[in-house]
């Protein structure tokens, strides 16, 4: 540590508080507003929240459902978070997940491989499928400057219709349902709960988060990706190859998105079903925002949204409240966090309070940017 007189400005506890503060604030406000909404609808908010809590967390059966619903959100949240951290709006995770799922589904029933190789092969296929779908916006963005946000958004319905076509026409399994044939037993991720489709995929999700946390904080590449997110012009100036790295970020993000699909196909359904996703890729955006793009934060926020989703079906059964109430809560969270994004973007141009005012006072004024002493 330094032997200078200046106080260390960032001790651990305030730093932790600053990281956790805004998401908690967003949650408190959205639950407050949600409560108000329930009161208007004539329900006691405390009862509703109690039912949500019990319905999602009490006892192994409920918890198992919650964890099952958490797993895809960890993957998609992590995928979005990887891109966010580098300043890239990959909101095409839904499509990348579908393509990953399709790839895993095809390899899972059709690949003539020994049993031990089936799961790894399916996972690799999912990684490749997701990455390939993400490569489209990545390359167009990097080489001809197309806005990745719009492109990703447009590619989502294309992926849905494309996988729908494949599962309804090209490789359709016999029977009334639009799906691919079931994957072979050796390609299944083992289920370990009687009460839900919770499967070993959750361990893959945890491992991905741990690996990304290590990558972000420990490697040179992780450092470069963060810097690109904070200030791409500075990164370019400093000799970091921004274009190449941006493509890399998108490919990794898409690959993780593809894994979300593999977990659904190999662990939950046992086959690729047309239109299986209730929007896990989109929920991943909320998860990543709430997590502030931290891989460890993703675990917590995915669990929270997983719990809300699983509690919501109980809510519908016990109190007759639409399960979409939970979506309203999620959207409020996103709105508040998005407002904070712009707020902090405006705010950080103000004087970051000088740690030692005795030296020179930074005097950039919030009211009048034009009059600052350049």
């Amino acid at each position: 540590m330094t032997d200078r007189a200046a106080p260390r400005p960032h001790p651990v506890l305030p730093r932790l508080l600053r990281a956790v503060g805004p998401p908690l604030f967003a949650l408190v406000v959205s639950f407050g507003l949600g409560g108000l909404l329930m009161a208007v609808l004539g329900k006691n908010p405390f009862t509703v929240y109690a039912v949500l809590l019990v319905g999602s967390l009490s006892g192994w059966p409920n918890l198992a459902v919650t964890l099952q619903l958490t797993t895809p959100l960890i993957f998609t949240g992590l995928a979005v978070a990887i891109a966010f951290r580098s300043g890239i709006w990959n909101i095409g995770v839904e499509g990348q997940m579908l393509m990953g799922a399709l790839a895993a589904g095809i390899v899972g029933y059709a690949a003539p491989l020994p049993d031990w190789a089936m799961v790894p092969a399916c996972l690799l296929a999912a990684l490749a499928g997701g990455a390939a779908w993400a490569a489209i916006p990545a390359l167009l963005r990097a080489y001809i400057g197309v806005n990745e946000l719009v492109l990703c958004l447009m590619l989502n319905p294309i992926a849905l219709l494309l996988t729908g076509y494949v599962s309804a026409r090209v490789l359709k399994a016999p029977g009334p349902t639009n799906k691919l044939p079931d994957v072979v037993d050796a390609a299944r991720l083992a289920n370990f709960s009687l009460y839900s489709q919770l499967n070993t995929g959750i361990f893959i999700a945890l491992a991905c988060c741990a690996l990304m946390a290590l990558f972000n904080n420990g490697t040179v590449r992780g450092f470069e990706w963060k810097l690109i997110g904070l200030n791409a012009r500075f990164a370019n100036y400093g000799g970091i190859r921004v274009r190449r790295n941006v493509i890399g970020v998108m490919l990794v993000s898409g690959a993780i998105g593809g894994l979300a699909g593999a977990e659904q196909v190999l662990g939950v359904y046992g086959a690729f079903y047309d239109n299986f996703s209730p929007g896990y890729g989109f929920d991943g955006i909320a998860v990543a925002m709430l997590a502030n793009s931290s891989p460890i934060g993703v675990l917590f926020s995915a669990f929270l949204f997983g719990a809300l989703n699983s509690g919501s079906s109980v809510l519908q059964m016990e109190l007759g409240i639409s399960k979409y109430l939970v979506q309203v809560l999620q959207f409020i969270v996103v709105l508040i966090l998005a407002a904070r994004f712009t707020f902090s973007w405006r705010g950080w141009r103000r004087p970051l309070v000088a740690s030692a005012p005795a030296v020179t006072l930074p005097m950039t004024l919030p009211a009048e940017q034009g009059t600052t002493e350049a």
């Binding site: 540590m1 330094t2 200078r4 200046a6 260390r8 400005p9 960032h10 420990g218 490697t219 040179v220 590449r221 992780g222 450092f223 470069e224 810097l227 904070l230 200030n231 012009r233 500075f234 990164a235 370019n236 100036y237 400093g238 000799g239 970091i240 190859r241 950080w348 004087p351 970051l352 309070v353 000088a354 740690s355 030692a356 005012p357 005795a358 030296v359 020179t360 006072l361 930074p362 005097m363 004024l365 009211a367 009048e368 034009g370 009059t371 600052t372 002493e373 350049a374």
Partner: protein, 515 residues
């Protein structure tokens, strides 16, 4: 103090915990040009923003013509006869001069129709009355900077301003335009108006003002008559100690082949128009070469293309004999470039990142252990550099954005000068840096020169270039129009070249013998 037109009495201003103005008292007399000088961050603009109603004071009073006033906003200050010309002009570029001047105080015909004819006539009268030659129908975007400034001044006069505050008005002007501005300022004073002139250029202060108030750390430390003081005394008051205005250095001993050799370079600006045209220059080891010019004459584009941030359209750049790939910053760096950019906030630093992270960029290969980043080693080196470059008020974990301008500049310098590069490009090295720090930055650059490196300095401040550099190049509209040994340099001559006189028909003057 009844003879004062406006007085600031005991003004105090806090921003949160930060005390920006401590107990400042200032009297502005009618008919005087009053210079307000001080380092960056001394509080000059803040104090004037309080007078102009942009900021409320925490305590203290503004007394106008003997009566205490309290402005709720600039509109009230303008109504009371106070006008301000900001450093960055606030004009509508696609409007005409007259339209800009009347904007917000439009003469109207019946039914709310705009009386443009009266507006143009009034504008014409006004500009003639004050000797500010301007065509009321000219579109502002077509005017040079010096004339746009006149529009701003006329705008204030149109609103019957008695007190005119000019915030760093000369920063964007050529020496000739500055001289014209000074004539205007004098004639305004003669008509009984008061002009407050915010600046940190001491030569200008002495040239134009009647009285001089010096600010330091939020206080008015002294108010003096122009005849009583010298530039050195003002500088000492500004910093609170004695300062060397000239850079102490020995004669340059350039040796060997050029470190930077640019031949016939052309570069396009952001709008695709040519910014640099067929430009050639050389910088040799052991010399400091300065590039003088009015901002916006291709300096930015030239430097960016040397740094590989911008693609050139024609010509050749060689750094230490190698020609790096066009538009590749990595290649330029490998060839031996260290670059200190002017735009610290967007190019040279990541303000949200800590100092050690900012210092590690460009040195990552030294802190690489396999795929992993040796963060502990990077922090240790950062702590050493903080000590060596005397970066104040910070530890290695402090975000760069929390530092003052001077200390941010030192972070950039510490990172770039330790790169073992043969060519150092410093763009606006003293911009937003206080005088004390300017001194040490200049010493560093001279030390680099004496080690035999080639130093290329781009600055809008001609005084800085003339005292720091061994040789001066003048750029005008993307071409080098002058090449002068600093020892022979004459401000008038350089000013003429910067303003573009005797160019088109004349080849660049090469007074150096190294052709």
């Amino acid at each position: 103090m009844t003879d004062a037109l406006v007085s600031l009495r005991g003004i105090v201003k806090h921003f949160g915990e930060l005390v920006a103005i401590h107990d400042a008292t200032l009297d502005i007399k009618p008919g005087e040009v009053h210079a307000l000088v001080g380092e960056n961050g001394a509080g000059k603009s803040t104090l004037m923003n309080i007078l102009y109603g942009l900021l409320p004071p925490t305590s203290g009073a503004v007394v106008l013509r003997g009566k205490p006033v309290s402005f709720g906003g600039p509109a009230e200050a303008i109504a009371a006869g106070i006008g301000m010309v900001h450093q960055h002009f606030k004009l509508a570029p696609s409007f005409t001069v007259a339209e800009n001047i009347i904007l917000g105080a439009e003469p109207a015909l019946s039914g709310g129709r705009l009386d443009l004819r009266t507006a143009e006539r009034d504008t014409g009268d006004l500009s003639q009355r004050f000797g500010l030659d301007l065509d009321p129908r000219a579109i502002v975007s077509t005017l040079p900077v010096g004339l746009r400034q006149r529009v701003e001044i006329l705008k204030a006069l149109y609103r019957q301003a008695e007190i005119l505050i000019l915030d760093e008005p000369t920063a964007v002007l050529t020496p000739q335009e500055t001289a014209e501005l000074f004539i205007t300022m004098r004639s305004l004073a003669k008509s009984g108006r008061s002009v407050v002139f915010i600046t940190h250029k001491l030569r200008e202060v002495l040239a134009v003002s009647d009285r001089i108030s010096v600010m330091r750390q939020g206080r008015i430390v002294s108010t003096l008559d122009n005849s009583e003081v010298t530039a050195d005394q003002i500088a000492s008051l500004m910093v609170g100690r004695t300062v060397l205005l000239r850079v102490a250095k020995t004669e340059a001993k350039p040796r060997g082949g050029p470190t930077l050799e640019i031949s016939n370079l052309s570069v396009s600006g952001d709008r695709g128009t040519p910014a640099v045209e067929d430009l050639s220059l050389t910088v040799r080891p052991g010399e400091i070469v300065g590039l003088a010019g009015v901002q916006g004459n291709g300096q930015d584009e030239l430097v960016e293309s040397i740094a590989g941030i911008r693609r050139s359209t024609a010509g050749r750049i060689a750094i230490c004999g190698t020609v790096p790939t066009v538009g590749d910053p990595v290649a330029s760096r490998r060839a031996g470039l260290a670059y200190v950019p002017a735009d610290r906030a967007h190019v040279g630093l990541s303000l949200q990142s800590s100092i050690w992270e900012n210092m590690a960029v460009g040195h990552l290969s030294a802190f690489r252990k396999g795929p992993f980043l040796a963060a502990a080693a990077a922090r240790r080196r950062c702590r050493e550099l903080i000590k060596r470059f005397d970066i104040r008020g910070a530890g290695e974990m402090t975000p760069a954005g929390a530092l003052s301008g001077g200390n941010q500049q030192k972070v950039q310098l510490a990172r770039e000068l330790t790169r073992d590069a043969r060519l150092i490009i410093a763009e606006q090295p003293s911009q937003g840096v206080d005088i004390g720090a300017i001194e040490s930055i200049h010493r560093l650059l001279v030390a680099m020169r004496d080690e035999g490196r080639a130093v290329f300095v781009i600055s809008a401040d001609l005084d800085e270039l003339m005292s720091l550099c061994d040789r001066l190049l003048v750029i005008y509209r993307g071409r080098i129009v002058g090449d002068i040994a600093a020892a022979d340099a004459d401000v008038e001559e350089i000013g003429r070249l910067m303003g573009g006189s005797n160019t088109d028909d004349q080849a660049p003057t090469r007074q150096e013998a190294h052709a």
